[in-house]
Symmetry: C2
Subunit: 225 residues, 2 copies
């Protein structure tokens, strides 16, 4: 199994590193991080990762993984990223979008008429790409797996391993990474969090939401053109 992660500037690194830890432990899975060049790539919060392949050297992959983050908003109006995503997805057996990564799948025309999940603060935008927004944490429609915000990628990656290699392989990884989560608080979704916490999140990301709305509108026009 060749697994290609897209690695763009201002990625939310846990969208990538969570599923990476799971998929890299699956027997026979080879992983590349693909970027336009081999230059180091900085996450939205300052963690710097090195790519292992470029748009020119990337292998065709069995599983394409598209993380999210503020950088998605640049990627989905950048024809290089949109075209590369579409091209790689066309050859892949499975495509996996995490968090706002599903918006890039949408911009690449992969979600038309499909159910898809996304970070709760960006889920509404999926319909602009012809997708049917899904509130669940993990959503599979055909060969496209999408998941909710950030940490949901860990759950989904374990599920993907179970589908591809069977339950025992997935359970072994889950035990190796001692994944028996104990979130300190109830919540973690807008439905289960107190209203004032939901409001704090919305207030903190108002500017990002406006930037994203513009990028999505532009990407949707380009897709329909």
């Amino acid at each position: 199994m060749q697994v290609n992660f897209l690695l763009f500037s201002a990625v939310t690194q846990l969208d990538l590193t969570g599923p990476y830890e799971v998929l890299a432990r699956a027997p026979g899975f080879e992983i590349d991080l693909v970027s336009p060049s081999m230059e180091p790539v900085r996450s939205d919060r300052g963690l710097t990762l090195l790519p292992t392949a470029t748009f020119d050297t990337a292998k065709p992959c069995d599983l394409l993984v598209v993380p999210g983050g503020p950088g998605t908003d640049d990627a989905l109006v950048d024809p290089r990223w949109v075209d590369f995503t579409a091209r790689q997805a066309a050859q892949a057996r499975f495509v996996f979008g995490i968090c706002t990564g599903s918006l890039l799948l949408g911009a690449a025309g992969l979600l038309r008429g499909r159910r898809a999940a996304c970070h709760w603060q960006a889920r509404e935008f999926l319909s602009e790409f012809g997708a049917i927004p899904d509130e669940s944490r993990m959503c599979a429609d055909g060969n496209i797996f999408t998941s909710g915000g950030v940490t949901s990628g860990i759950d989904m990656a374990i599920k993907v391993v179970a589908i591809l290699l069977g339950d025992d392989a997935a359970r072994q990884i889950q035990l190796q990474i001692e994944y028996d989560p104990e979130p300190p608080f109830a919540g973690g979704t807008p439905r289960t969090s107190p209203d004032h916490i939901v409001q704090r999140c919305l207030d903190a990301t108002r500017k990002r939401h406006a930037i994203r709305a513009q990028a999505v509108a532009q990407a949707a026009r380009a897709l329909d053109a």
Copy 2:
């Protein structure tokens, strides 16, 4: 708050990147990844990260974070790592060991007489450093927080933010990263996993366990000398 993560070769990257994602979202937290030099550092599964400070340039920190992984076994018999850990911890308000990172805390003499958690496959070694092994996923003893394997660092980091900045700040981060985990399987601990899955993990890591036993014995001798 200055937060210093130790970044050594063959780190288990999710031990670091999970808590990083949480702590980097906490208002006023500045994060460095500290390594012997500024050379890129490769995780045990091939993800390459860039340090932001060296042993010589690292600032004193309020919170020292020590991840685990196979690389711990080299670090805990390397006087440079042991001394740096002890030196930074002496000035820190809080010390946070994740997974087998707590073994390095032990080698630095920080766990004598203290309760500490660790990855379930290495927990037994804590007693060689005078610590009292604790089976819980998160363990606080004085200013030292330790957690179980890999993913437990996410839970613990949210708890650390709650302690330092209050519940609302921690809840906001939990909702931003949509941390409402749905592990695909029950299990994730040796107590809750089927016996044959526990056995698969033990079989897969027999060689690593032997290397670790030697490293711990050597580090314990050095500590007592």
